[in-house]
Symmetry: C2
Subunit: 181 residues, 2 copies
DNA sequence: AATGAATGTCAACAAGTGTTGACATTCATA
DNA sequence: TATGAATGTCAACACTTGTTGACATTCATT
């Protein structure tokens, strides 16, 4: 960890790395403090308690300013990149993983959903227009991300040039454009 | 808990209820023993240790004998029912939830994936035929399940008669049948 | 009734948890 | 240089965790 940073900053970064990798309840404060090269008691001073530290790792993590503002093919590629679907690394931090890992804890789960889930949904609704279609679009994204990162389906393989990738992009297009007849 | 059952049986059922609801590391053995009306030490006698108890809850949990053996519209409905997509209850046990909640723990995650994820995948591959198409099909299922149960997207709503339900079924059909041109 | 296996009870262990208060040090400002 | 705020250090608290060994009870079989 970079020693030039503030201790508070180092604590926050170490916390984010740990929490996003293994979930809220599976990370101890002493472990975070050790990774940050700081003392546990400083967490209380800077963040109040464990939940406050966790909340701090959620700030300004979902930025839609660089994303497409209109519905189109570039939206598909941008979202694929945003949710790290193309990456096979299970430790690659993803807001989806974070939500799933903390879904069992009512308090923490609500915190994460409020901070990111709703931001993500409202972005897609704004860009796509129809809320139902936006939800369907996000469902396909979720499924692809989960299939690769958590379930590790063999058949999905690298998402670069396989048949799965081509079909997945078609599914995303279908979620954007299809009209039920 | 039914007092007519064996203590071992009661422990196993209480363990499954707890583990499947909140994940492996978030459940304590004393809590399971209390729910089963038994003593903690009996867990050691019957299951060895915590991981042994968890493993016991995975036995015979994925049964494909009652599922369709051919690719078709009934496969869509059967799978929707199997993964409890139609249920909005976050406590409704689902193998998908179980996998996701334990994805952060290498040992436990591998155990669950080995017991169920691969069975699920091989079933779909056998019925659907093409492995890539089976993976795509499961991705859509995963996404729908996660969107409702963990992310709780507002727009997905009850999956009974909404526009989302109709479109989701179309997506599943597309995953089964579409040929990329 | 006696034997032995099966089953249940209790207390404790070492380690880890989040949290806290008292104290020491550093450092910028008056 | 002196003051006070900011920052860092240390030890301990009450509690929970998985695990374990010694002991008591129940129960079927001889």
């Amino acid at each position: 960890m970079d020693p030039d940073l503030t201790t508070k900053e180092r604590l926050q970064r170490a916390a984010k790395a740990a929490f996003w990798a293994r979930g809220y309840s599976n990370v101890g404060l002493r472990e975070i403090a050790r990774a940050a090269g700081a003392d546990v008691a400083l967490i209380k001073r800077y963040f109040g308690d464990k939940l406050g530290l966790f909340s701090a790792t959620l700030d300004r993590a979902f930025d839609t300013s660089a994303l497409p503002q209109t519905n189109g093919a570039d939206l598909v590629e941008a979202v694929v990149h945003l949710f790290s679907i193309a990456s096979r690394d299970p430790n690659d931090p993803s807001i989806i993983r974070l939500i799933l890992m903390n879904a069992h804890d009512a308090e923490v789960g609500a915190l994460v959903r409020a901070a990111h889930g709703q931001q993500m949904q409202s972005y897609l609704e704004r860009v796509i227009g129809d809320p139902t279609r936006a939800a369907l679009f996000m469902s396909v994204i979720l499924g692809a991300s989960v299939a690769e990162k958590s379930l590790r389906l063999q058949a999905t393989a690298p998402l670069g040039s396989s048949g799965y990738a081509a079909e997945l992009r078609y599914m995303l297009q279908a979620a954007l454009a299809y009209k039920v007849t």
